[in-house]
Structure formats: C-alpha cells, structure tokens
C-alpha cells in the first residue's frame, strides 16, 4: 500500500469550503428570521396595546433603557461586578472540582471516599445556600463567589471524574511503558485525552455559574446585574428590569458561544478517533 493512496480519502471526506459557507449562511439567515419574528410579534403586540406596558415594556422601550443605562454607566459597572464574581467563583470551582475529579478518576480509593460527600451535597440547589452564605460572608462579593462556586463545582467534578475514567487504558499503558514520568503522564496524556469529554461540562458549569451569580445578586449583593434588576423592580422601572434580563441573556449566550468555539477546536482530533 502506498502512502499517497491512503491519504486521499481523508481529504475527500471534508466538504468543500464554499458549500460549507453557504450552508452556514443559510442557517444564520434562519436564526435571524426566528429572532425577527419573536421581536416583531412582541413589538406589534405592545404597539397595539394588547400587552400592558407596565407588565412588559416593548422592545423599543427596552433598547432605550439599555441605551440610557449604558450612557450613565450603571450597565457597565454592574456587568463588570457580575463578570468578576462569576470568573472568580468559576476559577475557584475549577481548581477544587477538577483537581478532585482527576484524583478520584485515577484512584478508586479516593473516589469511594469523596463520592458520598459529593452525592450528599449535590442535590442542594445553590439558592438554598443563600441564608448560610449571607450568615458566613455577609452581602457582597464573597457570598456571590461562594454561591457561584457551589453551582459550578459539581458539574466540574463529574466532568473531570468521568473524563479520566473513560480514557483508553491502553493510552495510559503506552505512556507508562514509554517511560513517562508522573508529570508527563498527567500533562501530556491525561489532560489532553480528557479535554474533549470534559469540555461540555466546563461549558455547562459556566452557564450554571452565570445563573448563580444573578441569583446571588438578587438577594445577597449590592451591585451586579441581579441587583440592578431587583433595584429597578422596587423603583417600578420595569423597562430596566427587562433590559437587565436582556443583558444577562446576551452575556450568557456570548460566554457559552465562546467556550463552544474553544471546544470545537479542541475536539478537532477527537470525533474520528472514536470510530
């Protein structure tokens, strides 16, 4: 068998770039039609007076509110506060959850010790931790970090745990018989081999973290998008409430899309390796 003869099917299997681009353009067009219909209907119902503007402001009012909050800076201040909290809480959860997950994935003994604790704590929703969080950390950043941490740590733990356990035994054996040190085995094989399986959980955890930060801010903070919503509700600025919700949805979407992009790059080698 000559090498050239084998390489050609691999190049043939990839769709032509121009065809791929036109397909994704059509998808984008459909996405935009969906969004257009949604906002069009909403605006139409509001303009016709069918929706009470006090209960739900029209899209135009929401955009105006966003514009105003953006100009007076309150949107950015609160967005920055929320982003900082989700980042810090998420990173703490990564350190703890991924480390524990890797350790438990590689050691049956550790897994049996840690898993009952995790299983007992996991069903408690982060919202139920709010009173304890306020008691321990007061109102502010620390409480929010704690709640984001709690929301993220379990999916991160299970992501790392299942990923390590699903790694092909032979790959680990191959690395060991090639003389890999513990560090090379970990950084050169365990981490890259588990990333494709772990990435969906990293993304899921970030989404949960974003929801947790808003939840925390509704109750246990005096800045942030959650606080902005709560504050606006008390001042009967319903257009600001919805504007805050739109900002939360948009940022959550952007974060998830960004992680998904990274995920697709990491997974580039993985799918065909599994067949």
């Amino acid at each position: 068998m000559t090498a050239q003869a084998v390489s050609s099917p691999a190049t043939l299997s990839a769709p032509a770039p121009s065809r791929m681009r036109s397909a994704s353009r059509r998808m984008l067009a459909l996405n935009l039609i969906g969004l257009g219909l949604f906002f069009g209907l909403w605006q139409g119902l509001a303009s016709a007076g069918i929706i009470n503007a006090f209960l739900l402001p029209s899209p135009v009012d929401v955009v105006a509110a966003l514009w105003e909050m953006s100009n007076d800076g309150s949107l950015w201040v609160n967005l920055a506060a929320s982003l900082k909290r989700v980042c810090v809480g998420y990173l703490m959860a990564c350190v703890v959850g991924l480390t524990l997950g890797f350790v438990c994935g590689s050691s049956q003994v550790m897994a049996e010790i840690v898993r009952p604790i995790v299983e007992a704590l996991r069903p408690v929703p982060p919202l139920a931790w709010v009173p304890i969080a306020i008691l321990w950390f007061g109102l502010g950043d620390l409480s929010a970090y704690f709640l984001v941490f709690l929301g993220c740590v379990f999916p991160l733990f299970f992501g790392a745990y299942t990923a390590v356990r699903s790694i092909d035994r032979n790959q680990i054996n191959a690395a060991k018989c090639l003389g890999a040190s513990r560090w090379l085995l970990f950084s050169g094989v365990l981490i890259p081999a588990s990333l494709p399986i772990m990435m969906p959980n990293l993304r899921l955890a970030l989404g949960i973290g974003w929801m947790c930060v808003v939840t925390a801010e509704l109750i246990a903070a005096q800045t942030g998008l959650g606080y902005l919503i709560q504050q606006s509700r008390m001042l009967f600025q319903i257009q600001n409430v919805v504007a805050g919700m739109v900002a939360i949805g948009f940022v959550g979407y952007v974060m998830s899309a960004a992680v998904e992009r990274i995920e697709r790059r990491i997974n580039a080698w993985a799918p065909s390796e599994r067949d």
Binding site: V6, A10, N170
Partner: protein, 262 residues
C-alpha cells in the same frame, strides 16, 4: 538467581477475581526462557492467556505467583526498556505522528532537536516520511500501526512487546507489515515477544512459536523455526513453513472449534 536468559519466566500463574466461583485462572505454571535477540510468538486461541502473559512481561499487571525476571532483575512495573505495540494502536490522538514518536524520547529527556531528528528517522524506517505532521485519525490503520511501531522503537528499548499488532488490519496490509516487522526486528536485534492468533503469522515471524492452550492458560508446545532471517515473501512457499502451519492448524483445530462454540 543466575540466569543467562534475557527474560526468564518461571512458574507464573495469574488468577483474576476471587472466591470459589468468581476466580478465573488465566495462566497456570508458565515456564519460558527468552534469549536476547530472540523473536518469540505467543500463539493460541482467545482465552489462552497470551495477552495476559504479555501484559505481565510489560509490567502492566503483576503475577499471582511465580516470577518474571529481566537480565536477572524482577520486573516491577512498566519501564522504557520494554515498550509495547497495541492492537488498537493506542496512539495519542491529539499529537501528530512525529510527536507520537517523540513521546518516549521526551520521557527520556532527549533534547528537542535530537528527538525530532530521531523520530523523523524512525518514521522514515517505517515508510511514513511525508506524514510526520498528520494526526492519527487522518491516516489508515496500517499507517497508524507503522507509527506505533516507530513510537515503540524510538526510545531504543531492549524488548519489544507486540500485542496482536496486526489483528485489526486487512489481510493484505497484514502480510506487508509482517515482512516489515521481520526486517525491522532483525535489523535492530531486539528481543521481540509477539502475541497473535494467526498460525501463519507466528510461524512466518518467530524464532520459536510458543503454542498456548486455554482454561487454564498454559504452554502446550514450542516450535523452533527452520527459516533464516530476515523473512521474505518467498518463505511462505517453503516446505517447512507450509507443513508446520498445516500441522499446527490440525493440532489447534479442536480447541478453536471449542472456543467457537462457547
């Protein structure tokens, strides 16, 4: 212990599981001395313990009783002096073929430029020049296995362990790779332990064919080859080759039929 054998396997047994019913004896009282530079084929139907024996020599598992000694020292775990080629290749999917072959050299702390050069040389020896930057999933099964062989040979091990390396390949690729493996191993002079269930493959490649039988796994016969090295395609027509393959098939047939029914 004064032993001149490269690998000395004495009274090795391996039992999986525990209890009266749960325990399965994969290997029972296996004795085998393997000389330096020898090509040993472990041949037998599935369940005869040939892969278990290989895994014990590799150090991935430990024997339930008995000892496996390499150069007079008991094997305690996986070690770069014994590298393994797996049936499913076990290449690192996120690394180019070049990086895969470099892995064992990196583990040995060989400098960057030197290991790149060594890896390129080994890829050339398995006829993969020009494919250095391909990822494993971009090449065929035969090419993957060539790369895996290069990866196993690059760190210059004393012993090459091959666990049904050609089992997942089509018949034509298998025949070609058999000849290449014979060439590479006789060039390098390494001790090779090659697990297979292909009778012709074992007889074609090995200095000695160690025939094993199942339940419990044990050695039932050792056939010493009359063929010279390196093995060439013409030897498949050698009278000794054809008669040995035929004899082994006749003697192993009942066991294969038994396996098939279970």
């Amino acid at each position: 212990m004064t032993s001149t054998a490269h690998i000395d396997i004495s009274r090795v047994s391996k039992v999986f599981g525990a209890g009266e019913q749960g325990a399965v004896t994969a290997l029972k009282d296996v004795d085998l001395k393997i000389n330096k530079g020898e090509f040993i084929a472990l041949l037998g139907p599935s369940g005869c313990g040939k892969s278990t024996l290989l895994s014990l020599i590799a150090g991935f598992q430990t024997a339930s009783s008995g000892a496996i000694v390499q150069n007079g020292r008991a094997i305690a775990g996986p070690d770069a002096s014994r590298t393994v080629v797996f049936q499913d290749y076990a290449l690192f999917g996120w690394m180019s073929l070049q990086k895969n072959v470099e892995f064992g050299l990196k583990a040995k702390n060989v400098g960057k430029r030197e290991r790149a050069q060594i890896a390129r040389d080994f890829l050339a020896r398995v006829q993969l020049s020009g494919f250095e930057d391909k990822l494993p999933h971009e090449v065929s099964g035969g090419m993957k296995q060539r790369a895996a062989i290069a990866r196993a040979m690059a760190p210059d091990p004393e012993i090459l362990l091959m666990d049904e390396p050609l089992g997942a390949l089509d018949a034509q690729t298998r025949v070609l790779l058999q000849e290449e493996i014979s060439r590479l191993s006789s060039e390098s002079g390494k001790t090779v332990v090659f697990v297979t269930h292909g009778i012709d493959e074992a007889v074609f490649l090995a200095d000695r064919v160690v025939v094993m039988s199942p339940r419990p796994g044990r050695i039932r016969q050792i056939v010493t080859s009359h063929l010279s090295f390196p093995r060439t395609a013409a030897m498949r027509a050698d009278p000794w080759f054809t008669s040995t393959v035929k004899e082994l098939w006749e003697s192993l047939k009942p066991e294969w039929q038994k396996e098939d029914k279970q």
